[in-house]
């Protein structure tokens, strides 16, 4: 759903199908999927839905804008190594969800113990049980699976009363639901939502559209409900792989990569959610709401969801990358899967035989900038530097010397950040004319285009009379970068990565300076394993070794208290930035006294 392409005739006129597939491939040419390529899918014996031959519908309404999208930096890492790959013979599991950096903290750490169970880990206000953690038997963690579970259908109404819509050659009745929205000190607003069997009509002439006889209906797995909290409650009391599998079976949305390790020695990863079984290409474009072949035909049976248990390679991992490779029988739309963190992680686990806790800590804090390393050597080899002045040459030489680690004391990561930001905007300037037509190609494909299609017509800057190529874009944006950094230096001093990035952990009220933390010295950017960008990053880092009982380490950018007057409000931030961890005190005895700072006893009022 995410490539919102409303205007297909125009799109095809501009690009054509081959061009479209070049810019938006279903699979990037490198792919190190969540479920490894070696996986045998022969157990999936199911007829796949056929792609209908009908035309892609053209749009019937003009939108003023589209719905806001989620933060593209929302992502996470998780992984686990088997006993054979672990220094101690016990599996080790890690998880670090990447979210915006907020105070009070998004997460807090908790131990939940009853006479029957005992679990420990990070959880969210309002959630039941531990979300990312462990108990005496198993450990679990999540990353977002970014799977496409939302499609748009073009709806044609019979008349402006919108009581009937076209489907399967006949007029079918819509249902109306009146939403009552109470407004403080004002009149209650009544909003009529029109439902088709696809889902609610979201865009219409009342909302960002213009045609009273047409609309776009949203079909979304999230509207179908389900008890997703139960999954986590069952994890909390789980004892083995079967309990884990049983717990996640009913989970629907948003789809997650659930990593697992147990004291019995199992490791696993299931990509779990309720996934429509789509025909090839379904949902890539606007769907025809009147054509029954465009309906979701059925769902992928849960047992056929991509998963792996105790793989031969001895580790499982996910970092929001493509879930599978081409051999997975079901259609998986390329929703802009991450292409850098996963390769750094997997390459690391392929690099040696045994891993210990320090390796895990180092990996979670790894700032290797694979993205920069894949583009910059090509740029250095192809950019014409003859017109650069001394100041610009100095800056170029600085970034040429870079080892591609985005560390806080380096200048090169700042140069790269500024340069890439400008380059990625200028290459797709064609899209700025009509930003609603579709999303710009994904980062990986952008770099591929720069390297492999440097003379492509899209490299041209529309507003200039000259015909630019990739080489010209490198030089133009480099000169702008040099200018920006020289000015930055004059205003703020040295542009080392820490100062230039200026990571902050902001209070919920518009990052109120008094209650926020600024200039946190942490390396990395949104494509490094340590995905710390300006106001986004690893919001909880956890490592668990599956001894009996398990030994855990954790840290997060905040504190256990939500009170800005408490020293526990933000006391973990410095340790988090430095890559340090706290040993988690997983108490085995309810009367334990060791390391207890305070106790509070709640007695029911009889």
């Amino acid at each position: 759903m995410v490539i919102l392409i409303w205007n297909i005739p125009m799109l095809l006129k501009v690009f054509g199908k081959d061009r479209f597939d070049l810019l938006y491939p279903d699979f990037f040419d490198i792919n190190d999927p969540v479920i490894s390529k070696e996986t045998d899918w022969s157990f999936i014996d199911m007829k796949m839905p056929e792609t209908p031959e009908s035309e892609i519908p053209s749009d019937s309404i003009t939108l003023s804008e589209t719905l806001e999208k989620t933060n593209p930096h929302n992502g996470s890492n998780n992984w686990a190594v088997s006993g054979e790959k672990s220094y101690s013979g016990h599996p080790i599991l890690a998880n670090d969800p990447h979210l915006s950096l907020n105070l009070p903290s998004i997460w807090f750490v908790m131990q939940l113990a009853t006479p029957e169970h005992n679990s420990f880990g990070a959880t969210l206000p309002g959630a039941l049980g531990i979300i990312s953690g462990f108990n005496n038997h198993i450990a679990w963690g999540e990353t977002n699976a970014t799977r496409d579970v939302l499609d748009w259908y073009k709806i044609e109404f019979k008349d402006t009363t919108r009581k009937e819509y076209k489907h399967d050659g006949q007029w079918k009745k819509t249902t109306q639901r009146i939403e009552e929205i109470k407004i403080r000190n004002g009149k209650t607003l009544y909003d009529t939502i029109i439902y088709t069997h696809h889902g609610p009509v979201t865009y219409d002439h009342n909302f960002k559209g213009d045609n009273p006889k047409a609309g776009y209906a949203m079909q979304w797995v999230g509207h179908m409900g389900g008890n997703n909290q139960r999954t986590f409650l069952k994890f909390n009391e789980g004892k083995n792989y079967d309990d884990y599998l049983n717990a996640l079976k009913g989970y629907t949305a948003p789809a997650q990569n659930f990593v697992f390790a147990s004291t019995q020695g199992d490791i696993a990863l299931w990509i779990q959610g309720k996934f429509p079984n789509k025909w090839e290409g379904q949902g890539k474009f606007l769907l025809d709401g009147s054509n029954p072949q465009h309906d979701w035909q059925n769902f992928i049976p849960q047992a056929f969801n991509a998963h792996t248990k105790n793989p031969e390679r001895g580790f499982v991992s996910s970092a929001n990358q493509h879930p599978v490779d081409e051999s997975y029988p079901f259609y998986v739309f390329n929703d802009g899967y991450e292409t850098y963190r996963n390769r750094t992680i997997n390459d690391f686990f392929r690099s040696k035989d045994k891993f210990d806790i320090q390796d895990f800590k180092n990996l979670q804090n790894n700032n290797y900038n694979l993205k920069a390393s894949e583009l910059l050597p090509y740029v250095f080899a192809n950019m014409d530097t003859s017109s650069l002045n001394t100041e610009e040459m100095d800056i170029l030489n600085t970034i040429k010397m870079w080892d591609f680690y985005s560390e806080i004391d380096q200048l090169a990561p700042s140069i790269w950040e500024s340069w890439w930001t400008k380059l990625s905007e200028i290459i797709w300037d064609e899209y700025d004319a009509d930003p609603l037509v579709m999303d710009k190609p994904f980062t990986y494909q952008t770099i591929e285009m720069l390297k492999n299609q440097p003379e492509d017509e899209l490299m041209d800057i529309v507003s200039t009379p000259e015909k630019e190529t990739a080489k010209d874009l490198f030089l133009i944006t480099f000169k702008e970068t040099a200018k920006e950094l020289v000015e930055w230096k004059a205003a703020h001093g040295d542009y080392n990565w820490s100062a230039y990035k200026a990571t902050f952990v902001g209070h919920l009220l518009q990052a109120l300076p008094a209650f926020s933390r600024f200039d946190v010295p942490i390396g990395g950017d949104y494509n490094t394993v340590n995905a710390a960008s300006k106001n986004h990053g690893p919001s909880w880092r956890m490592i668990v070794e599956m001894t009996s009982p398990p030994i855990g380490y954790g840290i997060y950018p905040g504190g256990q208290s939500g009170n800005p007057g408490s020293k526990y409000y933000d006391n973990f931030i410095d340790q988090w930035a430095a890559g340090d961890y706290i040993s988690l005190l997983f108490m085995q005895d309810q009367d334990a006294k060791k390391d207890i700072m305070a106790t509070q006893t709640l007695i029911p009022n009889r």
Partner: protein
């Protein structure tokens, strides 16, 4: 001089006692009542209750702030903004209380003159 000392002590005691029951304006009641009964001359009418409450609020704020190592006081000093200096925040706190008490004392003094006439 003796009057000044008595007024100072009375303002302080009334303010401390009333602070247990009333919101911030207890200092105004204290300033008003003390000058109503213990008259002062010229600028002392304002400044004696001012100093009494300044002292009271600064000490009280110090005591409150000290309980969490002035973490919150420093943050409020960023919010106001006072450059994050908690001693400055205490001074501002005392000053505001003192002005309130002093103004109320001026009113108390006028009332005392009305009654005497």
């Amino acid at each position: 001089m003796k009057n000044n000392l008595i007024n100072f002590a009375v303002t302080l005691i009334i303010a401390i006692i009333l602070s247990q029951f009333l919101p911030w304006w207890h200092v105004m009641v204290a300033g008003f009542v003390s000058t109503l009964f213990f008259g002062l001359k010229r600028s002392a009418v304002f400044f004696i209750p001012f100093l009494a409450v300044l002292l009271f609020w600064m000490v009280y704020a110090f005591w409150l702030g000290n309980a969490n190592d002035f973490i919150l006081a420093e943050k409020i000093a960023v919010l106001l903004p006072l450059g994050g200096s908690w001693p400055l925040l205490l001074l501002v706190t005392g000053f505001i209380g003192g002005v309130a008490a002093g103004v109320a004392a001026l009113l108390g003094n006028q009332c005392r003159l009305l009654i005497k006439r």
